[in-house]
Symmetry: C2
Subunit: 589 residues, 2 copies
């Protein structure tokens, strides 16, 4: 930190901002780009560090306050609890503490264009300069890790259900409609989807570091040499995909003709990458691939259904083991839950990796929506209460994400009432029917109504899009009351979304019930086309915590109908204790 402050002084900067981001604006960063973690010692996946000559503060949201408090202890870095009522947001802090003529440095290579414009306009008003082309951290980070080098491979039929040529045609049609000559992609899931390629450069998401530049004839794919096997390179060439070095994107952007109409998504390209093409006329829009990949086609939907059955079977095996271990009085920790569940998934055909780090939280730990047990901090699952398990896998035929809560010992009356309320919220969304193109944000109110009615609520959204053997979090739809009602967030047939209402009693217990749902046409009337949700996740929802009297007959019908289907679909895939467990846990209530 002292070295960094020296660099700031050398560069004539009064402050520097270190966000948690990389040139691809990924959810999971290669270590090379995690300067914020390296500098601060805080290992959480979200947060921004601000350093001045006499202050260092880490802004992070409520998910990470406990962890950050512990990891920042003694570092001289102040924890800034982002979102707390008395804590200014970082831009406001900078506006209050820097003066006219001061300069704030940020590595523009990792800051998206939309955020950059917001900061620039906010700082302009107080006469503070934003310097984007200096990376003061690099100079002090002696043992900075290199970039990942995992090989790239092709996502092939029958798991891949669209051809590269089809995807390119669709994106080029959107480019034409927007009047663009060229389209720059930096987001890794967009690139992987577009080209039917996958990789392993970051945890949990099967993507690889790359940029892509698309015109009417060819695609220039910027990827480190040696990552793409020769035979794959040949197949790519046949589809007009030209390989270029990962770093060559800067020179190629600089060499574009003046006035070229370049389509970019301001939230998905960094200011640093764009700085190489000042001569381009920018056409700003959401990446067309965002919408295209969110809508799963019929073949993908069929593969997803099969994948969900495999994933559900893995969960049956895990839960059969878990209940047996509990019954036998064997000590089971939250770490053991992760280990056994991951192993069960790994035995299933098509499994590639987890789709995110398993969250297994017992009682109070379950009240932290993004809790992760560690070797040093985790709980033994023993006594009375609720165990929350949120987990998922990457399979060649789809990505899964499921949360279940199961009783341990004898849950309390209050826990069972909360569980039932969350289940009602889950069922409300599972059963809703709505017009095609309804803004996804408004559906959140339908899920929350059964909780709101009791004065209950939860702080996260109810649904995020899920990729097809891609990122477990994708857009553009978002079932969240706070989402903007923009046209591209409208719900369309084929969208795969999570349904995950929850309830968190700080320090006591947490509940979340999550399935993935596929938007499907259900009616065509004089009033238009209506969609409903097909629940595609297949795994029993524990009924031991259900307070039956609180459920309406419609809700009971849904629950029993779901379990009938789960039993029928999973039975062929399990045997032994897993089979017995499935039969028991799908009994009607």
């Amino acid at each position: 930190m002292a070295a960094l402050r020296g660099q700031l002084a050398l560069a004539g900067l009064q402050a520097c901002l270190v966000p948690t981001a990389d040139p691809h604006l990924s959810e999971y960063l290669p270590q090379h780009w995690n300067a914020r973690a390296w500098l601060s010692g805080f290992s959480g996946s979200a947060g921004s560090l601000l350093v001045t000559a006499d202050f260092a503060g880490l802004w992070t949201d409520s998910r990470y306050w406990v962890q950050a408090e512990s990891q920042l202890r003694g570092s001289g870095i102040t924890l800034m609890r982002a979102g707390a009522p008395d804590v200014p947001d970082m831009l406001d802090w900078v506006r209050d503490h820097l003066g006219r003529g001061d300069r704030l440095g940020v590595d523009g290579r990792v800051m998206d264009r939309a955020a950059t414009l917001r900061w620039q306009s906010g700082l302009d008003k107080v006469g503070v300069g934003l310097v984007l082309n200096l990376d003061p951290v690099d100079a002090v980070w002696a043992d900075r890790p290199g970039l990942p080098t995992a090989p790239v491979y092709e996502h092939l039929p029958p798991h891949a259900c669209r051809t590269r040529a089809d995807n390119l045609t669709a994106v080029r049609a959107a480019m034409q409609a927007l009047g663009a000559d060229l389209h720059l992609l930096s987001t890794l899931d967009d690139i992987a989807w577009l080209l039917n390629l996958r990789g392993a450069d970051v945890d949990y998401n099967p993507v690889f570091l790359a940029h892509a530049l698309i015109d009417g004839q060819q695609v220039r794919l910027y990827v480190a040499p040696g990552k793409i096997p020769v035979d794959l390179a040949d197949r790519l060439a046949a589809d007009g995909v030209v390989l270029r070095d990962y770093t060559a994107v800067a020179a190629d952007l600089a060499a574009l003709d003046a006035g070229v109409r370049l389509l970019i998504d301001p939230a998905r390209v960094t200011a640093g990458t764009l700085s190489h093409a000042p001569q381009a006329r920018l056409i700003e829009s959401i990446n067309p691939s965002q919408l295209l990949k969110s809508i799963k086609n019929a073949a993908e939907a069929a593969n997803i259904r099969d994948t969900m059955a495999q994933d559900g079977a893995a969960l049956c095996e895990f839960f059969a083991w878990f209940e047996a271990a509990q019954a036998a009085g064997e000590p089971v920790t939250e770490i053991d839950v992760d280990t056994h569940l991951s192993a069960a998934r790994a035995r299933r055909p098509g499994f590639v990796s987890l789709s995110f780090a398993t969250i297994a939280g017992f009682n109070a730990n379950g009240a932290m929506p993004h809790y992760r047990a560690t070797e040093t901090h985790h709980a033994l699952v023993r006594g009375d209460g609720l165990l929350l398990i949120d987990s998922g896998g990457q399979y060649l035929g789809g990505t899964t994400d499921i949360t279940r809560v199961v009783p341990v010992g004898t849950p309390s009356t209050a826990q069972r009432a909360d569980y039932t309320a969350v289940l009602q919220a889950h069922i409300a969304l599972a059963r809703v029917q709505f017009p095609v193109d309804t803004p996804s944000s408004v559906l959140d109110a339908v899920a929350r109504t059964p909780l709101w009615r009791r004065g209950l609520d939860y702080g996260h959204g109810t649904g995020h899009g899920v990729g097809y053997f891609l990122n477990v979090h994708e857009g553009p739809q978002s079932i969240s009351v706070r989402s903007h009602a923009r046209p591209h967030q409208d719900m369309k047939a084929g969208m795969l979304t999570s349904n995950e209402p929850g309830l968190y009693r700080d320090g006591h217990w947490g509940i979340r019930i999550e399935n993935l749902v596929l938007a499907v046409p259900v009616a065509q009337t004089a009033f238009g086309s209506f969609l409903g949700f097909e629940t595609v996740t297949l795994c029993p929802i524990d009924t031991r915590c259900v307070v039956r009297e609180l459920l309406s007959s419609d809700e009971l019908d849904w629950l029993n109908g779901y379990h009938e289907q789960v039993r029928e679909r999973l039975l062929p895939l399990v045997d032994g204790p897993a089979r017995d467990w499935l039969l028991t846990r799908t009994e009607p209530v």
Copy 2:
């Protein structure tokens, strides 16, 4: 039209756009500003006319297609059905039909700043100029009506529940928070609210033509001489309100210091008005008074409850007459409905005027959400079916807006099923409980769920804000799935909003059930503050069309509870046949 085309040629314009708007962006225009109606012969309240040398088109939305088709016949003006799938919007049409170097004229005095910027940016891209400072219509409109001259009066206690000084303090605090030196208001309800003044310059809204310029010390109120009595002028002066001629706003804006920080609402000030102050630094935000007046205080809420009882009593008298006339076989037209209902309201204490033109539509006419019976086109209410009546009044103690649907003869099974579905939607919203500051848009899904479930829907929003003895339509909240989820649209305690789901079977019948609801605190829990809706409108909801078996016990409880309250509150205010009618129509189901 030929004369207008001559003017266009003289002015070097290839096209001119005539919107339906005035310098105050009001819902109801003085005739002086209704150039669009005068030019086209189309008398509907919404639509824009576009004229070129060889084309004239009137864009209007589906509410007006039937009326516009009939009124435009033989005029040479093409009806452009705005919103129909094959009809370009007006800006797209202009971009397609005008060429680089062409110029489009619009009277900037009546076009809001936000729309102006949108048009400018859209036309820039195709090289078409937007000319805002010419009014080609004025030159050809020989007998243009003058501006209205109704006197201005003061809204006094006990009906006015805030002092002018309090309102000014609140607005000035908002100005200071936004860093503004000055604030320009052009919207008439904002000005009337701010100064506790009312007028009668336009139909239905108790407002007067004015602009206002507010600084830290004084308010300059621009209003035509003679409208404000001398004693009122003295009282205004005591609160720092200086009277200036209506037209002096231009000169005063031009005389502002360079760089003055001027707060304006880009949707509520016209480009023409702003063109006088090019030297100002604009601070763009929603008018602070929009939010302040949307939140009714306790005294206002008490007056509103009293006003609702008076309005409900008037409706009892009307419906008693209507049912007696029907029973006696007397011919009753939709016009008679309006006449008798308006007369019943006019007999009530505090009544000032209607709050909008009564909509009384029998069967197919009820299927047009904004239908208005005219002397030449109206129906006899006879036979079997449903009569929809949407009406409201301006009272010194509040503004009302209510829709009821009543059976005529024997409604069909399908009509009763539709009626029950709409009632369920109405009850769903009436009963919902939600966290303070929930975006109002998402509540719409709660209302629509019972209809969506059956493949039904309606094309308008479910709720608009309602003024306090002011405009019947005000913001900022909007219970509409298509509203933007902006912070100022969040639902707050004290907001008065309509609850008006509907269902329209084109050519057959229409249903809408509308009450006004006040957002009130209902619970404070570990999860925050929760609001619910107090239904303040008091008038029986006809139960003869209710299919009892379709209602849940919660829904029946709500309906019977509402009627118990209606009976109790209205009984002291009615006698004779109205009293009998009230007792009959509030029987529990």
